[in-house]
Subunit: 194 residues, 2 copies
DNA sequence: GGTGGCACTTGATGTAGGTTAAGAAATGGT
DNA sequence: ACCATTTCTTAACCTACATCAAGTGCCACC
């Protein structure tokens, strides 16, 4: 049951009564996104936080020379949204695309805000979730400023071991911030070292 | 009165009663940090969120080859902390140093957590503050992945016009992610263009 | 009112990673 | 099971930025 997954996800930080669980789940909206389809596209206003119950999404931006930069992967049990757009309700900068057939549970911004007032524990939950994202984002910035591509790749392997052999390597290249060509070269150098 | 500054800062997102203001301000601890002195150093556990009432701080990390990377500037009316360490209560990765004589108000992690339960509005406030930091951090990551040094410099000028002529330029170089030498050259090229 | 240190500049040279191109391998839709 | 498309590899050349080095201007403080 996909609802178990999201309820367990919440339990990592807050405890809900049976009733509160029911209020919460009533706010959720299941959705399927087929491989290569989009949950959100550039320029659109982001109206939902999405929780992935199966499959995998990627959030990315496209720069002015057309190069894609992967900002996050969201496999099962992860939350994803274009935070800039969700907060400001202005046109967003991210595309969120399914890397494989994916099931999500959508929580609309309006419902999320209702939860904050109805059940303050949710404000607590999302504060913690946001804090953790902030730390991860800062760490990634530090890494991109101070590590080589190879070191960033090693970090990626350590942090997301399940994703590694699961993802087309151009997506990993984009996440660590190099071209697919350079990534390929780098990998063959790493292999030769061993 | 420095308390007015912080109370106004809160008013941007939440409204407090007179009593709540008093509870809050009783939790604060004023501190002076002289130029070149540290509010926090690498390896130390971060126990406070700091709000700057006058002067300016910088938060930075030092990589393994000894290069400093400025993560944030905190002029008056800004909050600063090593979020990684504050959240995890593990030894931190940032140095927070005064660029000039600076006055801060410290809010301990323990007091901050008391506020969350005593006055839930504070959970709301810090959730929003964290969300905004997250968006800023993500944007900076996107910029570092997709813009040239010159474009990042232009963004910096637009976003922090007051800091520009106020800060030693090697600090700006470090923030935008280039060496002081390259920054100097870049600036002279920009001037020549006009 | 020197002088020691720091911030800034300028030049020569080095390098991590990008670009372009072309072929080989893998994959997925029908 | 096949073809079309996408993904991966390899190679030659290019560029943004780093490194090293030497020199200039500027306070600050004894």
């Amino acid at each position: 049951m996909p609802l178990d997954l999201i309820l367990n996800n919440l339990e990592k930080h807050i405890h809900l009564t049976r009733e509160e669980q029911e209020i919460f789940t009533a706010y959720l909206q299941p959705k399927k996104v087929k491989r290569k389809q989009f949950l959100l596209t550039y320029g659109e206003v982001c109206k939902y936080s999405a929780f992935v119950t199966s499959g995998c999404l990627r959030g990315y931006t496209v720069d002015k020379s057309g190069i894609e930069h992967v900002l996050s992967f969201a496999p099962a049990d992860w939350w994803i949204a274009d935070m800039y757009s969700l907060i400001s309700q202005k046109p967003g900068i991210q595309n969120i695309e399914a890397l494989e057939d994916t099931d999500v549970l959508l929580l609309s911004k309006a419902n999320q805000e209702k939860l904050y007032t109805q059940i303050p524990k949710f404000e607590h939950f999302f504060r913690i979730l946001t804090e953790n994202s902030l730390v991860a984002s800062q760490q990634r910035l530090i890494d991109s400023l101070s590590l080589t591509a190879e070191e960033r790749y090693n970090n990626f392997c350590k942090r997301y071991p399940t994703l590694i052999d699961h993802l087309p390597q151009k997506q990993i290249a984009s996440y660590i911030g190099v071209t697919p060509e350079f990534f390929s070269r780098m990998k063959s150098v790493i292999v030769r070292k061993k």
